[in-house]
Symmetry: C2
Subunit: 302 residues, 2 copies
């Protein structure tokens, strides 16, 4: 069975994300850099880490390591709704709860719910949503604001589930491996990469994005990232629809390679939301084949 390291401890949202990737032995690891180091060293087959809007932080650590340390590639992603379970010891009732523990970001996201439902409870910070459950089990605190998966690990009961002040927040995770052949295209694929461009050419990012637009490639996320110790350059993280095995994506990557200081491929993998990533008219594989055939004929004078 394959081994997946994840940003732990047991019972966090990251474990919950790791469980969506199928049967595997899950190994909790203390920090994101240590998860990625375990993957690079071959101690595990893959690592699951947050990349966007994590409840427990560490997204910056993920992005910096993926951009700067030895390359890894994503082979799958997971999206989780930010909805918490309130865990208590058996028999504890609303009125018994004097302390509510969790990571400060989780406490901030259930502030209104706690004020309404547990008006006598004092918030207490813990290093993760899961360690709050540990401390509730110990008897140190009365209630934990936890990822739903935490109830599987700790002998606690759910006082409430699906708790969140904001309805539609989601957090995103990637499953990362050492570089190798990407998963097969599914028709609902995403490609991720980092691109480094010169700072003193104001049109260079517009040029990069035009290379995608001209090939009908839909950008779903862009984020500028700081460059450590390299002045005069910018690094951008890009997510876009399509798979590197498609001619339009391969052609766009080649154009970025020609026109950027540096491109780092971060993987082509199925999108968690399963929306289609089909090429629009004039950018399909057969359009590319027909175009190349025509050019070859012109070159031969046929």
């Amino acid at each position: 069975m394959s081994r997946i390291a994840y940003f732990g401890p047991q019972g966090t949202f990251t474990e919950q994300a790791a469980r969506t990737f199928g049967e595997a032995t899950l190994v909790p690891v203390e920090t994101v850099p240590l998860v990625l180091a375990a993957v690079r060293a071959g101690e595990v087959d893959a690592g699951c880490v947050p990349v966007e809007n994590s409840v427990e932080g560490a997204v910056t650590a993920t992005m910096d390591s993926l951009a700067e340390d030895s390359p890894l590639v994503a082979v799958a992603e997971a999206l989780l709704p930010v909805r918490f379970s309130i865990l208590v010891r058996e028999g504890v009732k609303h009125e018994d709860i004097k302390t509510v523990a969790s990571h400060p970001h989780a406490l901030a996201q259930v502030r209104d719910w706690v004020a309404t439902n547990l008006p006598n409870a004092v918030p207490v910070a813990t290093t993760s949503t899961a360690s709050a459950a540990v401390h509730v089990h110990d008897g140190e605190f009365d209630a934990a604001v936890s990822a739903p998966v935490a109830v599987l690990h700790y002998p606690l009961v759910e006082l409430a589930t699906d708790v969140a002040d904001v309805d539609n927040a989601v957090t995103r995770f990637l499953l990362l491996r050492r570089p190798g052949k990407p998963p097969e295209p599914t028709g609902t694929d995403r490609t991720s990469l980092f691109v480094v461009i010169a700072h003193d050419e104001p049109g260079s990012l517009a040029g990069t994005l035009s290379e995608l637009a001209l090939r009908g490639i839909n950008l779903s996320r862009i984020e500028s990232r700081p460059m450590r110790g390299r002045f005069g350059e910018y690094r951008f993280y890009l997510d876009f629809d399509g798979h590197v095995s498609e001619p339009r994506i391969a052609d766009a990557l080649a154009a970025l390679h020609r026109n950027s200081r540096e491109v780092r491929f971060l993987g082509s993998y199925p999108k968690a939301d399963r929306t289609l990533s089909a090429a629009p008219p004039r950018s399909t594989a057969s359009d590319y084949t027909a175009a190349l055939d025509w050019v070859a004929k012109v070159q031969e004078g046929l």
Copy 2:
């Protein structure tokens, strides 16, 4: 004296940022949304909140509120190095320290330092770097990993200063006011805005950035932000050099207004790093004047 609300409590990095904006009465407020609500309601003159790489989180809350709630504009920014002070009670020595308290993100950023210098200390999470100092003062914990400013508020002493595992991390803050005339241009200015574009037009972001590039405008940050409940559209946060009183910036904003679903102006304000934001040749104010004069003459047949 003007009143500035900030994401508190007293003694956080956000207070430290607020102090860089000159003499003012500083008012700690519990969450970022409540800081911005106090500014909107006129209870304070301005609010100071983190916008990028905050040690204590809440950047997502800042961006969502600036994008979606009633408009505010930035009038100044601050950049702070992420370097901590280790605060203890008078007389406490390294070997006495059994617990080290802070926000989980701060604990993660001094992990190596603590392992080397306080090998017997157990990390303990608090809701902010400042509340760690409060608990150390109470005698509950032995050492706090705090913003340097915390020592001004709590009767503690510095066991160490300038502590950080990573050398060059910075965090960024904005000073926000109700909409009004922007501060005068200084020659080292930044303009910030949100732009909403259609999802089904793959070239629309490339087009938006080309409007900036064609006017010699240097983009310093771009980030896609989720749209709540509006499918088929993307929102982007943009920072670029220049001031809205310059013709090239005004001209670019007008072009974005024509070509986007929505543009929200977030202010023109002096850059904290004081790097120049001068227009390059062919985009200066006199170039714009000369060009408009020429067109007017053509229209009149002169």
